[in-house]
Symmetry: C2
Subunit: 248 residues, 2 copies
């Protein structure tokens, strides 16, 4: 990583995945108790970042992936006209930087949306371990494949869907990801700004504001700043699935 900015806790060499409440979302579910020790020897945990700090930057040497432990992260790439474009939001239990595994340099930048701590997974060691643990290799292939499907889904969302459909989809996606962590799927705090949302969904900030206001007057959600409550999940789902739009 060269210089890590914002590393405020001394990295505790050796993780304790077996005690981590996120272990069922992350890597270790693929390995048994004995192998987990080898995994924990490789993973470094305890790196923390403040809001706005970079975990890594595009075209940094890509030596590690990172698992989010707490907080939230956005990844960004420079698009053809030199602007930053958000390619994903990452919540605890999710892994950043997978696309640059076995790449010389990171394809995107990752920055903390709020105070965030991560575990570092050095890619060379992970590859070595994966060669000796077929189940870990399989798990990695699965993570990478899921990431491909994710970005394809996102591309499809951006391709044809209206502003309302995009925003409803994002809210539902966040909702189900909070649910996976045993948090409320109805009531949560958005970790990102309206501007982040608009950037990610390919909309203008004003459109995000307007659509969320419309959802609110329709009684679908309750929103005050970043505090959101989903009132009518089924109706939101219908909006996201473009109900009532006749298509060939």
């Amino acid at each position: 990583m060269g210089q890590l900015i914002g590393k405020t806790e001394s990295p505790a060499l050796g993780a304790s995945c077996h005690r981590c409440s996120l272990s069922n979302l992350c890597l270790p579910l693929a390995v048994n108790a004995e192998d987990m020790k080898r995994l924990e020897n490789i993973i470094q945990q305890g790196r923390s970042f403040n809001r706005g700090e970079n975990i890594f930057k595009q075209s940094d040497p890509a030596q590690s992936c990172f698992a989010v432990r707490s907080g939230a992260v956005k990844t960004t790439m420079l698009n053809s006209s030199g602007e930053e474009q958000i390619t994903g939001f990452f919540l605890p239990g999710e892994i950043i930087g997978l696309e640059s595994i076995s790449c010389a340099r990171h394809a995107c930048s990752a920055s903390a949306l709020e105070r965030t701590s991560v575990c570092e997974l050095p890619t060379n060691h992970m590859e070595e371990l994966a060669s000796t643990l077929p189940s870990l290799q399989h798990h990695f292939f699965g993570l990478l494949g899921a990431e491909i499907q994710n970005s394809q889904q996102h591309a499809m969302l951006l391709s044809k869907n209206t502003a309302e459909e995009r925003i409803a989809s994002l809210l539902l996606s966040l909702s189900s990801r909070f649910e996976r962590r045993r948090l409320s799927s109805r009531e949560f705090t958005l970790p990102m700004t309206r501007s982040d949302i608009s950037n990610f969904l390919g909309l203008a900030v004003e459109t995000v504001s307007r659509v969320m206001a419309r959802f609110q007057t329709q009684g679908l959600i309750q929103a005050k700043g970043r505090e959101v409550t989903l009132l009518e999940v089924e109706s939101l789902r219908e909006v996201a699935l473009s109900f009532g739009r006749a298509r060939s």
Copy 2:
């Protein structure tokens, strides 16, 4: 795969990757001569499909990836409103179905755009082989990572770029992919219809027609049906990179 429609040649068990002109684009460049034999024992080549036939369909059991030997393929997914959405075009030397490695079922359908032949890569055998050949494992991680970056780039293209930028980008992408195969990068035949292009780029067919007509009157390209000649590659590149669009 259950039933393979359009399988018109009897599959020759055992491939001959070492004599394949595409081997530098595909898998084997990652392995040495001795290991290539083991690879060739796993790969089945010689499956052919006519225009419109499916190589696999979404939610079929995912037992194999496929490398395109000749012809061209499109992959499609059903979007939220039940329409088919094209997620990618694949030319000789490129691999289809990677996103479903270590998935129970294919996440997309693949169909031939013209007469096409493919090599079949059974995923379970490929995973086994990858465990014993670290360089092959590394190569696979690289392919998967590249696929992620691809769909992210595509999502970015769909997110903010104008119709002209999208179409210029596609033409340049095809051009460079033809060049990799030592074919003309200036003059080529589009394997897909205008409707496929519009679907892939999130535009209406009419818009594709209009933009290509505009490019032609501007002297950037020469196009008659699917025969395309790029006349001003540099200007096209400027269009694709959204030159002249002031952004913060």
